[in-house]
Amino acid sequence: MVLVVLAAGFMLILLGLYGALIHRNILHMIVSFSVADTGVNLVLIAVGYMPGRTAPILDSNVSVADAVERIIDPVPQALVLTAIVIGVGVTALMLAYAYRLYQTKGTLDISKFTELKW
C-alpha cells in the first residue's frame, strides 16, 4: 500500500516536470508545477506512514500510554501542511506574473518571451 502511494507520488513528480518542460503555454506550465507539488506531498506523506498504525491524534481509541506504539510519525504531516500552504502561495504568485506577462505581450506562449534568451 505504501509502495503504491510512493509510486503514484513519484509518477506525479515526473509527469509534472515533463509537462512544465514540454508545454509552451505558461498556464499549462503552472498547472504542471502544481501537479509536481502534489506528487512531492504524496511522497512525504507516504514516507511518514507505518502499516497498522493510526493518525497522531490522542482520543478514545489512542490513549496517552500506548501512543508510541499506535501512532504514525507526526513530523512528515506537519511538513506537508507547511508545503501545501507554501505551494498555494507560489501558485498564486505564478498566476499573477502570468497575468502581467499576458498584459504586456498579449500572449502566454513562452517562446515569445525572448528578452532573457541567450
Partner: protein, 236 residues
C-alpha cells in the same frame, strides 16, 4: 527536437533514481527518536490531543511564524504585481455586463456562505483536538469568499477589513510568542495559559488561541488574494 531528447533523458534519469528509492524503501517499524519524543511528551507537557498541531504551533512554532510571513509576503507581492493606477481598489470595480445570477446559485450561496464560515471557524477552534487547524480553517473561510465572488463577480469587499484582521492577528501571534518568554519556557511556549484537561475545548494552553489567530490571518490573506485576482479591470 534536441530539446525533447534532453527532457526525456533527464526524466529517465530522475525516474531511475525514483525507482531505486522505491525498491530500497522499507517502512519504519518503530517511531524515530524525534517522533517518539513528540508522542510521549505532547499530552503531558502541552496537553494537546492533536500531536501534529502541537508540532506546528508549539514545538516548531518559529517555523510556522516564518510560514505565515511567507504567506503575508505572497499576498503583498501579489498586490504589488497586479497594482495599476486604475486597476484595483475598493470603489473601482470592473464595469462589465454580467447576466443576472441564477436563482439556484444566488439562493444556494446565501444558504451556504454562513455554513462554510462556521465550518472554517469550527476547524481552527478545534485544531488542537481534531484534524484541522488554522491553515485549513483559513482556506475554508476563503472558499466562502470565493463562492461570493462566483455568485457575483462585481461584488465589493471591504479590503481594509481584510488587512486589519490580518495585521491584528499577525501582531497577536507575535505578542503571544513573546509572552511565552516571560511567563513560560520560551518563545511561543503554549503554557502561558493553563493546560487543562486533555481533550477539552479549553485546553492545551495557547494552542487554540494561536490557531484561531493563524486561521483569521490565513483566511484574510487568501480572501484578499482571491479578491485581487478577480477585481482586475478587463483590458479595454
Amino acid at each position: 527536437m534536441t530539446k525533447r531528447i534532453f527532457v526525456f533523458g533527464m526524466l529517465i534519469g530522475l525516474g531511475a533514481i525514483f525507482i531505486d528509492l522505491l525498491l530500497s524503501y522499507t517502512p519504519d517499524s518503530a517511531l524515530n527518536q524525534t517522533a517518539r519524543y513528540y508522542a510521549e511528551r505532547t499530552a503531558t507537557d502541552l496537553g494537546a490531543a492533536n500531536i501534529v498541531a502541537a508540532v506546528i504551533v508549539t514545538y516548531r512554532g518559529l517555523d510556522t511564524l516564518g510560514e505565515v510571513t511567507v504567506l503575508f509576503l505572497t499576498a503583498a507581492i501579489l498586490v504589488m504585481v497586479l497594482y495599476r493606477d486604475h486597476g484595483i481598489g475598493i470603489n473601482k470595480i470592473p464595469n462589465r455586463f454580467l447576466p443576472p445570477t441564477g436563482e439556484m446559485l444566488g439562493t444556494g450561496s446565501r444558504l451556504l456562505v454562513p455554513l462554510i464560515l462556521l465550518m472554517g471557524v469550527y476547524l481552527f477552534a478545534n485544531g488542537h483536538l481534531t484534524p484541522g487547524g488554522g491553515f485549513q480553517g483559513g482556506a475554508i473561510i476563503a472558499s466562502a469568499v470565493l463562492l461570493l465572488l462566483l455568485t457575483n463577480p462585481n461584488q465589493t469587499f471591504n479590503l481594509q477589513l481584510f488587512s486589519l484582521t490580518e495585521s491584528i492577528s499577525g501582531i497577536g501571534f507575535v505578542v503571544i510568542g513573546v509572552l511565552g518568554m516571560f511567563f513560560a519556557g520560551g518563545f511561543l511556549d503554549n503554557r502561558i495559559f493553563p493546560i487543562g484537561q486533555l481533550g477539552e475545548l479549553f485546553s492545551a494552553g495557547a494552542i487554540p488561541v494561536i490557531y484561531t489567530l493563524i486561521g483569521l490571518k490565513v483566511g484574510a490573506e487568501f480572501s484578499s488574494i482571491l479578491v485581487h485576482l478577480s477585481e482586475e479591470k478587463e483590458e479595454s
